[in-house]
């Protein structure tokens, strides 16, 4: 039983990270948040209970950084994303999003002197997937554990085989970044193109860069009405770690 | 030297020229040797035989000259200073290399550029060209150079035409006749009114 090996692995991991040998599950999760994804690959999450819901703890390694002051509104990023990945020219499916703010800025067609976009100040504010840290809203909302961390880049990726097209991830993303492919009835999101993002390559003004990940979720306002509906199993998993301070986790 | 040593030497020499070209500079053999020395080429055991290592500077220089003369992607020409200068044309074009070489002499810089334009395109060039990068000449320098050309028998072919906008264009009568140069200057000035 894998669970019997749990203390061994924790001890190994703790040694490697220079932490105390004996860890609560909560401590393990803290460790895991900073650890290399190989820990996750070892299936340690699953070691904590067969059938436990997937909880992405590791951060992504890379991030697409967008500079609005360089964006020229050509949409080549959106087209590269869908054409070169899906063989279709379909900006509505693109995982980097320009069209929505290109004309009038993030606030929309308000008129007035502060309006951005082509019809306003000229500034085009791009929307990129933040590859959110834990808790990853889209992944957390997914009842099928279909959104997973890519082993190479840490990108939060929709596993199309597991996706059932319920769209809860779309409802959960605060920036409305999840695309939905009506043809295949599957969700789709930015997966960093295996470490060589096609949008970055396609941008003719260098407005996009692929950089080491950092948490940008507190920058830029959320722009969607969100609903995170958690499955009961997921909610239970959350509560296992998120115990009141000072109390021990309900898990060993 | 052994084949390997020659190859290593050549490689380092070519790379030094290329690096200079990358940075927008022409390289003399002195520059190349200094770069190679800074890279430690003459210190590390890259297979240079003892005699090459111990060779006097003139020996190295002769070796370098021979090597660069036959390097396929390196151009050599006699610079204004009298020294041979080198560049890699894929990184620093022939045209630009000549401009760089002549920067020390505004008169030659302007005259040869005017002649090249009249010969190669063919077209006259606006005098403003020489105030902008990479020429970067001050108005006084331009004026002085033009006076110098007018006064010198070697530059009697350099002359000018004034377009209807008042813009002055320079050309060489060796390659362009007055009326055609005037037409081309007029045309160049009219492009902004003919979108």
């Amino acid at each position: 039983m894998q669970r019997e090996r749990y203390p061994e692995w924790i001890s190994l991991a703790a040694d490697a990270a220079g932490m105390e040998a004996s860890l609560s599950r909560r401590g393990f999760l803290m460790l895991s948040a900073c650890a290399a994804s190989s820990l996750t690959a070892l299936g340690l999450c699953e070691a904590l209970g067969a059938g436990s819901p997937l909880v992405i703890l590791d951060n992504a390694k890379g991030l697409i950084l967008a500079d609005p002051s360089r964006c020229v509104g050509c949409q080549r990023c959106e087209l590269a994303c869908t054409e070169f990945n899906d063989g279709r020219a379909q900006p509505s499916l693109s995982r980097i999003k320009i069209s929505r703010a290109m004309n009038f800025g993030p606030e929309g067609p308000t008129g007035g002197p502060a309006m951005q976009g082509t019809w306003g100040t000229g500034l085009v504010v791009q929307s990129v997937c933040r590859q959110c840290p834990h808790p990853v809203p889209c992944a957390t909302a997914c009842p099928e554990d279909a959104i997973q961390a890519d082993p190479k880049t840490g990108a939060r990726v929709v596993n199309a085989k597991r996706c059932v097209g319920c769209r809860l991830c779309q409802r959960a993303c605060p920036w409305d970044m999840i695309s939905f492919d009506e043809e295949s009835q599957k969700a789709s999101k930015c997966f960093l193109c295996n470490g060589k993002p096609k949008c970055v390559e396609a941008c003719p003004s260098g407005a996009l860069r692929y950089v080491p990940w950092r948490d940008i979720t507190r920058e830029g306002r959320p722009n969607a009405a969100t609903l995170t509906a958690l499955s009961a199993a997921k909610a239970k998993a959350c509560v296992e770690c998120h115990v009141p301070s000072g109390r021990k986790s309900t898990r060993r | 030297m052994t084949c390997d040593a020659t190859a290593a030497f050549t490689g380092a020499a070519v790379e030094a020229v290329r690096e200079a070209s990358r940075q927008g500079r022409l390289a003399t053999r002195e520059d190349v040797l200094a770069a190679m020395e800074a890279e430690g080429v003459f210190l590390s055991p890259v297979g240079l035989e003892a005699e090459a290592q111990a060779a006097p500077p003139e020996g190295r220089d002769a070796l370098l000259a021979a090597v660069l003369a036959t390097a396929p992607d390196i151009i050599a020409f006699q610079g204004l200073s009298g020294q041979t200068v080198y560049h890699a044309p894929d990184l620093l074009s022939r045209t630009y290399a000549r401009i760089l070489d002549r920067k020390g002499s505004p008169l030659l810089l302007m005259a040869e550029e005017i002649r090249a334009n009249s010969r190669d395109y063919p077209r006259p060039v606006p005098v403003e060209l020489f105030g902008a990068p990479p020429f970067g000449l001050a108005p006084e320098e331009i004026e002085q150079a033009l006076r110098g050309m007018a006064a010198s028998p070697d530059y009697q072919d350099i002359t000018f035409t004034t377009a209807h906008t008042g813009a002055v264009y320079l050309f060489s009568t060796r390659h362009l006749e007055q009326s055609y140069a005037a037409f081309l200057a007029q045309r160049a000035e009219s492009l902004v009114m003919n979108p």
């Binding site: 020229v72 080549r76 279709r88 379909q90 003719p204 | 045209t95 395109y121 009114m193």
Partner: protein, 705 residues
Amino acid sequence: MTITAGGFAGKVLRVDLSTGKISTLDTREKYGAMLGGTGLGYQVLWEEVPAGTGPFDVANKLIFATGALAGTSVPCSGRTAITTIFPSCWPKALVGSGHMGGQFAAKLKYAGYDAIIVEGKAERPVWLFIRDGRVELRDAAFLWGSGIHRTTLEISQEMGADCAVAAIGQAGEKLAPLATVVNSLSHSAGGVGGVMGSKNLKAIGVQGSGGLRIAGNKEQWERLVKFHLSILGANNQHVVPSFPTPESEYYNPGSRWVGEPGKRWGAARPPVEITGSIHDMSRIAYRTNSAAFFLGEQAWKHTVRGNGCTSCPIRCHTTLKVPAMATKYGLDEVAQGTCIALNFGRFFFPTLPGGPKGEAALEACMIGMNMADDMGIWSNYGQLQRDFIKLSRDGVFQAKLGSAEYAAIPWDKWRAGDPAFLLDIIPRIGERRGELGQVLSEGSGGLFGHWGISEEAWGADHATTYWKMGHPKHHANEDDGQCGVIINTQYNRDAQCHSHTNFVRNGLPVHEQKRLAGELWGSPDSVDAPGHYTRMNKYKAQRAKWALIRKELHDCLGLCNWMGPWVASPLKERGYRGDNSLESRFFSLATGMDLDREELDAAGERVFTLHRALTIRDMETVDMRAQHDHVPRWVYEDPKGAQPFTPGTIRMDRDDISRAMDMFYEVMGWDKSTGAPTREAYARLGLVDVGAALQAKNLLPEDKP
């Protein structure tokens, strides 16, 4: 939402404004042979609009059509053609097209449509709502009388921020022949706005969530797209930078490739400096700055960024911010435009304080871009302004306008070169106010028709650059000798062909151009040095044919003829060659219809020939040579008396041009004496029915007595 197989969106939308009926047709089934764009437009006019229909008659139709490559990442593929009976064509309105870029073409494709056929006339002002499969006519009373800026804002509030809106302003509402349809702020289609106004159609708003499937292998597609990017130059496919640089053997001070490292978009916050290699694929957008090209160095500090059509990396529209616009003129600080539209304001003034690249010129351009593209006024490629200047100088305004109207116009401001003059004259023309507004907004034809000015007089004046049928030259002999002349004879408005001029102005030395020309058109003699023209030869005729057919092809595929064809490139390692088969390679991969260059060019020739047939039919004469393919007098004269074929003149020779037309008709397979396609020419191109219809009207050259 639709995702269709292969490039085309698949459907043509038909909107009958008289009945409100909305229907669709299958694009390829009905219009496949004509590809799309102008081809589709010409087919609709041929089949559905009777000869003799006037531009503002209810029977006229307005066909918005893009092409198979629009909406994809093919560089420079954001174009829509708007084909109709063209109002400013004088004395009799004939087939013509306006062309616009922006986002409209791509959005239309994503909504599932390759074209919209607008017919009939609505009882009251309406606008057309298109969201994927949902198409409705909505009441436009609240928009009628508004400019294009507000119209776009309010429709976007109703539809959503990501819609594309093509609208008319006051000029189109008032049926001005010089009215545009504008989308995406500064992308205007000339001449067609009044037709839209005559149908009570204020705007079309399009939104689409669909996609276009690339039929071919997506890795191959990606490689081809990247190849195309690698051979791009700057605006107008100028392949040589305007500045000496270590990265290039050649430079050309007259080039539109002005983005030298070290320059910066000064009005970006913070300013964006141009850095890196000029050939870097992530620096393409910095090569072009149209404002700097036309208005000089001062434009850089006012440049916010480049802008332009969907998918195009060139960004030939410049977004400018000039704070003085608000303080001095009460207008928006930000405006955007390129080329002739950028120059709309400046061109009204014979002189400006500070000269053509001074501050007054900049302000005049800002006013022009702002107001003309809001009211939807067309300059007729600058003819409006040239006519204005000549009429002023000749005292015609003083003679023709009533004293009250004349006195109300601030002529002192015009003489002083005060840009504020435009605040009076532009709305005067856009709203068709008074005698001046009414007549000038008709185009040059208005002068001939209403003020008794002779077309001959206009054609004899070198400064007007008038060509024929109410329109000016557009890259004629001043750029490209006989080739340019031939091209300018062929249309019913100014030629709008740039295939030839993109090449001759690309900045390469003449000897390099001739070398490439030899490969492309059979001989280095197909191209001359500018103003150093040699006598006509068959290779120039071949090049003229190529230029015209490629222009039509681009207009059918949604490609930009201000950039293509891409037959030269900046790449020394390619011998500065581009690729003459790029269009067919893209078309084949996108659609899955495997056509080589010759086959696709044949389709372009088919389209061009149908335009000829329409012109013949609607002019009711087969004698195109004598009645249509005119060359104005000034082409055969030189102000200094220089002889043709001497260096330094653009003067052409009548006999030589006659021979040029002979050779052109020959290379087209048309009858030499009439310049009309023969029965065989129609048949060869799959236009047998067209030939038969013309035969029935005695409009085939073989049937001429």
